[in-house]
C-alpha cells in the first residue's frame, strides 16, 4: 500500500510536469518535527512518549488554461500529499494522499468535486452531530495539528445552487472508519478486559466490504435567512466508530448501519454568534432498541455561543447532550455484569483564545467537561509564529475521569505534552 501511494505521487508529479509544458505549478507545504512525552503508565507500545515524527506536506493546484471544455468549466486539480517518518512506529515511512481531486463547474448553478477530499459540515466546535465523515481521534489525542482530526474520503460531491436554496450531495463508495484508540499508541477502556487496556487488547474489528450495498450518501440543504444560516442534513451509511458487537464470543466489534437526520441554525445572538444543532441517529439494525449487542438509536443536541470580547480575546461555550432512545428496552436487555450507560450524557465545552504580539502568539485552551460522566479533557496550546515561515507550537492533552469506562476517563492514561516545529513554504 505504501509503495502504491509513492508510485501514485510520482505519476501525478510526472503528469503535472507534462501537462504544464513550461513549469510546475507552485508547490507549497511544510516540514514539521513533532515530539510528545507522555505521563500515564499503560501497556502501549512506548511508555514514555506517544508521538515522535517528521512530516513533509506538499500541496499544489493546477488550473486548466487550454482551449478545451475543461477551461470553460473552470476545472482544476488539487493535490496534497503527506510524507511521514513515524518514530513511534519503528521509523516507518508513510505516504498519505490527503487530497487528489478534480473540481469543475459544468453549469453555473453546479459545482462538482470528485476524488479524495476532506468533507466537513455542521456547526459544532470539536463536536460533530451531522458530520459523520471519518475522523482521526488518535491524531487528536496526541497533539497533531487540527487538520488531522478529519480524514479525507474518496467521494463525488455535487453542489447545486438554484435561487432559493443550496444543495450539497455527497456519494461515498468506500467506507472509511474513524481512527479510534486501539491500544498500540493510545490506551483505552476495553469492555472485554474490564479496564484500561493497551497492547494486551484481544478485540478485533470487522471491516466493511466495498460493494454497492455499502455505498454511503450524505446530503445537506441550506440557505441563509438574512444573517442566519440554516441547514438540514441527511446521512445514510455506517457508524464510523465500532460501537456494536458483531460477535461477543469472538471479541469482535463492527461498524453498524446508521442513518442520521438533523438540522442546524447559526447566527448573531446577544453580540456574539449562537448555534443550535440537532441530530437523530437511527440504528436500523436495532430499531426497537432491545438488541443487547447493538447500539440503540440516539438523539444528539447542541447549543453553542461564541463572543469576541475585544483585544483579540474570544470565548466560546457549548452544551451538548446525547440521549439513548428506547432506554427501557436497552436496560431490560442488559445482563447483570454488563456496563450500563446513562440515558443522557451531558457535555459542556469551553474555548478561550487570546492573540498577542501583533497576532503572532496564539494562546488557546479548549475544555470538555462531562458532569454526568465526571470526566474532563483539557487541551491548552500556545503557538508562536517566530517568523512568517517558522511556527513553534507547544501544548498538552490532559485527561481525567472518575471512572475508566467513560469517553475521556477511558483514555486518561494518555496524558501528554507536545512540541511541534513547523517550517512553511
Amino acid at each position: 500500500m505504501k509503495k502504491i501511494s509513492l508510485l501514485l505521487v510520482l505519476i501525478v508529479l510526472a503528469f503535472l510536469k507534462n501537462v504544464c509544458a513550461t513549469e510546475l505549478p507552485e508547490i507549497h507545504g511544510f516540514a514539521e518535527g513533532a515530539f510528545a512525552p507522555k505521563f500515564g503508565s499503560d501497556k502501549t507500545k512506548h511508555e514514555n512518549f506517544n508521538m515522535a515524527e517528521a512530516r513533509v506536506q506538499l500541496k499544489s493546484e493546477y488550473y486548466f488554461d487550454d482551449d478545451t471544455v475543461l477551461t470553460d468549466w473552470q476545472t482544476y486539480i488539487s493535490v496534497k500529499f503527506d510524507f511521514l517518518l513515524d518514530g513511534y512506529m519503528e521509523r516507518s515511512f508513510v505516504t498519505d494522499i490527503r487530497e487528489l481531486n478534480v473540481s469543475f463547474m459544468p453549469f453555473d448553478f453546479m459545482d462538482i468535486k470528485v476524488g479524495r477530499q476532506v468533507l466537513t459540515w455542521g456547526t459544532g466546535d470539536y463536536l460533530f452531530l451531522n458530520d459523520l465523515f471519518p475522523k482521526d481521534y488518535i491524531s487528536f489525542f496526541i497533539g497533531r495539528d487540527d487538520e488531522y482530526l478529519k480524514k479525507p474520503n474518496d467521494a463525488l460531491r455535487v453542489m447545486l445552487f438554484p435561487d432559493w436554496f443550496n444543495l450539497d450531495l455527497v456519494f461515498i463508495p468506500f467506507f472509511r472508519e474513524n481512527d479510534v484508540p486501539e491500544g498500540k499508541r493510545i490506551s483505552f477502556f476495553d469492555a472485554f478486559e474490564g479496564g484500561i487496556t493497551g497492547l494486551n487488547t484481544r478485540r478485533e474489528i470487522l471491516t466493511r466490504s466495498n460493494n454497492p450495498e455499502n455505498f454511503m450518501y450524505a446530503g445537506r440543504i441550506y440557505r441563509n435567512f438574512s444573517s442566519y444560516e440554516t441547514a438540514l442534513y441527511y446521512y445514510r451509511g455506517f457508524d464510523p466508530s465500532p460501537r456494536s458487537y458483531y460477535s461477543e464470543r469472538d471479541l469482535m466489534l463492527y461498524y453498524e448501519r446508521l442513518d442520521a437526520y438533523g438540522g442546524s441554525v447559526r447566527g448573531p445572538v446577544l453580540s456574539g454568534i449562537g448555534n443550535i444543532e440537532v441530530s437523530y441517529y437511527y440504528s436500523p439494525e436495532d430499531s426497537h432498541g432491545d438488541i443487547r449487542e447493538r447500539q440503540n438509536s440516539r438523539m444528539k443536541y447542541l447549543a453553542g455561543y461564541e463572543k469576541d470580547l475585544g483585544n483579540d480575546l474570544r470565548i466560546g461555550f457549548q452544551y451538548y447532550l446525547e440521549q439513548t432512545l428506547d432506554y427501557d428496552e436497552y436496560h431490560r436487555a442488559l445482563r447483570s455484569l454488563d456496563y450500563r450507560w446513562d440515558e443522557f450524557r451531558h457535555v459542556i465545552t469551553n474555548r478561550v483564545t487570546k492573540l498577542f504580539a501583533n497576532q503572532t502568539i496564539r494562546a488557546s485552551v479548549f475544555t470538555f467537561f462531562s458532569p454526568s460522566d465526571m470526566d474532563v479533557y483539557v487541551r491548552p496550546s500556545l503557538s508562536w509564529d517566530a517568523t512568517d515561515a517558522w511556527t513553534l507550537t507547544i501544548g498538552a492533552n490532559l485527561l481525567w475521569g472518575r471512572d475508566s469506562w467513560t469517553e475521556f476517563g477511558g483514555v486518561q492514561k494518555n496524558k501528554n505534552i507536545y512540541v511541534r516545529l513547523r517550517y512553511s513554504f
Binding site: D111, S271, D308, N358, Q359, T387, D388
Partner: protein
Amino acid sequence: MRKKILGAVVFMLTVLLSGSAVALTAGDVIEKANQANYYQADDGRAKVDMTITDSLGRERKRKMTILRLDAPDGEKQKYFIYFDKPDDVKGMTYLVWKKPGEDDDRWLYLPALDLVRRVASSDKRSSFVGSHFAYEEISGRGIGEDLHTIESEDDSFYRIKSVPKDPNSVEFSYFITLIDKETFIPQKEEMYDKNGKLYKILESLEVKDIGGYLTITKMKATDLNAKGFTVCEFSDIGYNVDLKDDIFTERYLRRPPRKYIK
C-alpha cells in the same frame, strides 16, 4: 450614480471656493471622504501587500486579494478576501457582510479542514491580520459612530476632529483627520488616547488616478508606543469589474473566483 454625485459636489465646491455663501459642514466633509475612500464605484478589486515592521526592524509580510461589492444604496458592503501570504494561511478565504451600526457577518474558510467557520467579531478595533491597521481602518469606520467638527481649515485641507459617541467601544478619545479640500482624500489621521496623547498615525503615502477614481495606493500606520509600523500597498486595482453578488457566498469561500484572484 455615485460618481455623478461626487462630480456634482466637486463642481459645487469649485463654485463655492470662488467665494460664495454655503460652507460644508464637518459631516458633509466626512461623508465625502468616506465615499472617496471606501465606496468608489460599485465594486472593486485590489491586490494588497502589507509589510509589518516591529520595533526591532523585523518584517512580516501579508499578501491578499480583496474584492468589494457595494449595496446599490446605503452603507452596506460585502468583502471577499483571498489570503496568499504568509504560506501557512495561503488559500484561506474570508467573507464579510458589512452592516454599519451592527456587527458584521463574517466567515473564515479553512481549506485543510473544509471548514466554514462563523467568526464572532464585535471588535472592529482589533488588528487586521496582525498589522498596525485596525479592522475598521481597512474596511471603513461608520461615519455615524462619531461626532465630527471642523477644527480648522486652510486653502488645502480640512482638519476634522471626531469624537466617538460610545467612548467605551474604542481605545481612543478622539482623532483628527486632515482631508484634502479638492479630492476629499484623507491625507493623515492622528489618533489620541484616553489621556489625550498622540499614539497612532495613519498616512496616505501615495494617491493615484485609477480609471477616473482617485485611490490611495500606499498607506502607513504607525504605532508610536510600540514603535512599529505597517506599510500597505494596493496594486492591480480595478473598479466596476462586474462582481456578482453570488461571489460573496459560501460557494466561493470553497472555490475562490480565479478570474479575480489571479
